[in-house]
Symmetry: C2
Subunit: 502 residues, 2 copies
Amino acid sequence: MHSETNLSKLKAVLNEINDLIAILGLIQWDQETYMPHGGSLGRSHQLSAISKVIHLKVTSPENGQLLEDLKPYAATLDPDSDDARLIKVAARLYDQRTKVPVEWVSEFARITGEAYAVWEHARAESDFASFQPYLKRIVEMRREYASFFEPYDHVYDPLLDEFEPGMKTADVQEIFAWLRPRQVALIQAIAGRPQVDDSFLHQAFDEKSQWNFGVEVITRLGYDWNRGRQDKAVHPFTQPMGLGDVRITTRFLPDYLPSALFSTTHESGHALYEMGVDPNLDRTPLGRGASMAVHESQSRLYENLVSRSYDFWVFFYPRLQEYFPSQLSTVPLKKFYASINKVAPSLIRVEADEATYNLHIMLRLELEIALIEGKLEVADLPQAWNDGMRDYLGLTPPNDAQGVLQDVHWSHGYMGYFSTYALGNLIGAQLWELVNREIPDLSKQIQRGEFATLTGWMREKVHRHGAKFEPQELVQRITGSKIDPAPYLRYLTEKYNRLYGL
Amino acid sequence: MHSETNLSKLKAVLNEINDLIAILGLIQWDQETYMPHGGSLGRSHQLSAISKVIHLKVTSPENGQLLEDLKPYAATLDPDSDDARLIKVAARLYDQRTKVPVEWVSEFARITGEAYAVWEHARAESDFASFQPYLKRIVEMRREYASFFEPYDHVYDPLLDEFEPGMKTADVQEIFAWLRPRQVALIQAIAGRPQVDDSFLHQAFDEKSQWNFGVEVITRLGYDWNRGRQDKAVHPFTQPMGLGDVRITTRFLPDYLPSALFSTTHESGHALYEMGVDPNLDRTPLGRGASMAVHESQSRLYENLVSRSYDFWVFFYPRLQEYFPSQLSTVPLKKFYASINKVAPSLIRVEADEATYNLHIMLRLELEIALIEGKLEVADLPQAWNDGMRDYLGLTPPNDAQGVLQDVHWSHGYMGYFSTYALGNLIGAQLWELVNREIPDLSKQIQRGEFATLTGWMREKVHRHGAKFEPQELVQRITGSKIDPAPYLRYLTEKYNRLYGL
C-alpha cells in the first residue's frame, strides 16, 4: 500500500517533468518555424530557464528518494510491466542526470539556443567563421559533458548514450567497419553501369502542389491530422509535445521534386511512431520513441523501403502525374522509379540515395569522435570535412553551406546523434524482412495504397512500447537478433541488382 | 556592496521568472494559432505545470528574503530609478502571489487550459450548455481567488487589481456612472439623425489583399517585423515573449472590410507599446506594459483616434482603393470615412463603433460583478446577457455565439479584465488631447502618412517606462490628472457633431 502511494507520487513527478519537456519541445518547434529573428536572444534565455527547471526536477532529492524506496517493490513486479519499466527508466534518467551539474545544463541550453540562429545565418551565407566560435564552445562543453561520466570505455560513449541508450561507440564502429567496404563495393559496381537520366526531376514544381501531394500521401500512410500539423522549416524535423500533438515540418526545393516528397514521408515515419505509443504511457518517460535509432528505423523505413519502392508508386504515380501533368505525363513509371532511386555520390546528406547515405553518416561519426577526442580542432573542421567527402564519396563541396554547415544538429548541441540514422537504416531493413514474411501480401497491399496493415504491424511490434525497452533489447525481442547490418546490405544489393542490372 | 550583491541576485531570479513567463506566452500564443485539436488536453497539463513553476519561483522564500533584505537599500535610491521601481514592483508581486496557494494556481491553469478549446467549440456551435460547467468552475475559482485577499473593499477588487494595479471597483463604477448617461445621450442624439449608407463595406473583400493592406498600414505605424510576426487567430490578441518577440494576430471576415483592418491596427497599438519598452527592463517585471488599461489606451488610440480619423484616410484611402478597385473606386473618401465611423448599436463588442463600445464594456462589468458577488448564477448568464443587451443597446442577440459566447476572455479565466478596455479609451483620449497640443502639426503629419513623431511621443511618454509606474500614477505624470472620462466625451462629441451634424 505504501509502495503504491510512492508509485503514484513518482508518476505525478514524472508527469510534471514530461509536461515541461513537452513545453521544451514547443519552444524548439517554434524556434525553427515561426520565431522572428529578434526573438533569438530571449529564446536562448528561455531555453536555459526551462532546461534548468527540468533538470532540477529530474535530479530532485524527492525523485531520488522515491526511486530508492520503490526498488524493492519494483523487484516484485512483472519485469516487462509498464510500472516496472517506468521505475527502471526513471531511475536510469535520474542516475544519468545527477552526474551533470545544473550550471552546465543551463549554460548549454543558452549557448545552443543562440547557436541555432547563428548557424541558420552562417549556412545561408556559407560563412563558417561566424559559426566557428559557437561550435568550438559546443565541442568544449560536450567534452566536459563526457567527463561527468568518467570512467568510460570511450570518451564518445556518454554522448552516444544520450541518444541511443545502452549503445557503445565500439558497437557502432564494429557495425560500420563491417558495412563500409561492402557499401563502397556496391557503389563502385553501380558506378560501372549505365546511369539513369533523371533530368525531368530537375525542373520547376509548384510548391503548393508539392505540399498537397505530400499531404495526400502521409494522410494515407496514417498521419493523424487531429493530433498534428505540418509547417515549413529550414531543416525538417518532427516534434512531439505529448502524444496528442506530434508535429512535422518539411521544406521545398522549387526545382527538384524528390526533396520535399521524401522529407515528408521521412518525418511522417517519426510521427507515426510517436502517435502509435500506448496512450497509457503519455506524460511519462516511456511515452516516446525508444531511441533515435529506433526512431530512424521508422522514418527511414517509410521514406525509403516504403515510399521509394516500386509498389508504392504503382499506386501513387498516377496521382503524382495528375498534380504535375506537364512535367510527368510523358515519363513512364519505370523511369520515374529508377530516377528516384538513382545512385550517385552527392554533397547533401538528406538528399542522398540509399546506397551512399550511410557514408555521409560514417564521415560525421569519424569527425565527431575526432573533435571529442581532441584530435581535431573546430578551426580545421571544414578542411577535414572536405577531405572526408573526397575520401568517402569522391566529391569536394564548393562551399561550406553544401559542406560542413549543411546539418542543423551541431547548432542544437546534438553530438552523438548522427550514427543513429545509419543504425536506423539497419533496424528498418531488419523489420522490413520480418514484416514481409509475416504479411505475405504486403507488396500487393502497398500497390493498392493500403498501409493500415503495415502501420498496424509497426504499432504492435514497435510503436506501442514507447521507451519501455532499450533499443538493442527491443530489436532482439522483435527480430530475434540485435542490430544487424546484413539485412540492410541484402536489401540494397537486391534492389540495385534489379535497378542497375549488376 | 552587500546590497548590490543582493540586487544582482534578485535580478537573476526575476530574469528567470520572466523567461518562464515568456514561455507561458508562447504556450498561449500557440494554443490560439497553431495547436492541433488533439493537443488540447496535454496543453492544459503543460499550462498547469509551467504556471506552478512560475508561482513557486515568485513566492520562493529566497525571493522573499532578498526583497526583505533590500528594503533599506531601496529607501536610499532615487524612488523613480529603475532599481527602486524594480524592487517595489517585485515586492508587490511577491506579496500578492504569496496569498494564493500553488494548488489553486495549478488547477486554475489546468481548467482554463481545457476551457479554451471548449469555448472555441461552444462558440462555433453556439452551444452555451457545453461551456457552462467550465465557466461555472472558473467563476467559483475566481471567487475563491478573491477570498485569498480578504479583507477587501469589494469582492471584485482583487480581480480588477490583477489587470489594473491599484484600481478599485468603486473607482471604475464612479467613472462609468458619470460616463454612461452622457454616452447614452450622445447615441440617442445620433439616432435622431439621418444614417450613413455603409452597404459598400458589406461585400466580398479578398483575404490576401486585406492581409497585405493591413501589413502595409502597421509597417508604416512602426511595427517592427524583425521583432514580431502576424498570424490568424479566432480572437485577435497580442503576445509578447520578451521585448524581442512581440507577436500579433488578426482575423478576417470575407464580406466586411473593417473587421480585420481595425483589429490589425488595434493589435499593432499593443505591440508598439511592448516594442517601445526600454530594453534595459527586458526580462524583469518592469519589461511590459503598465496595466491592461494603459495597454488599451495604446491599442484603442491606434485603432480609433488614429486609424478611424479623417487624416489617416487622406493618406491611406487611395492605397486602399488600389487594393480594392471594384469595391471602392466609386466611393468618395468622405463617404468611406463616414461609413467606418457609422454609429449603430450592434451585437459584437470588437466590431462596435466608438460611441457604443463602452456600453458593451459596462454590461460585462455589471455581469462579472454579479457573478463574483454570487448574485447571478452562470446558468442564468445567457438570459442576463440578453436582458442587458436590450437594456444597454436595444438589441437581442439571435444566439449565444453572438451574445454571451462572443469573447474569449472568460475561457482564459480573465475576469476583471473587460473594464480596462473602457478605461483605455479614456486614457487614450487624454493622451490624444495632449499629443495634439504638443505636436501642433500632428494632423498634417498623419495626412502625409508620417507616424514617427506620434509613435516617438508615445514611446517617450508611455512605452519606455514599461511597468515602472502604476496606471493612475503614470497617467497623472503624463497628463497632470488621473484617469478622466471628460476628454473622451469631448472627443466623441466633437467627432460625431461633425459626422452627424448634431
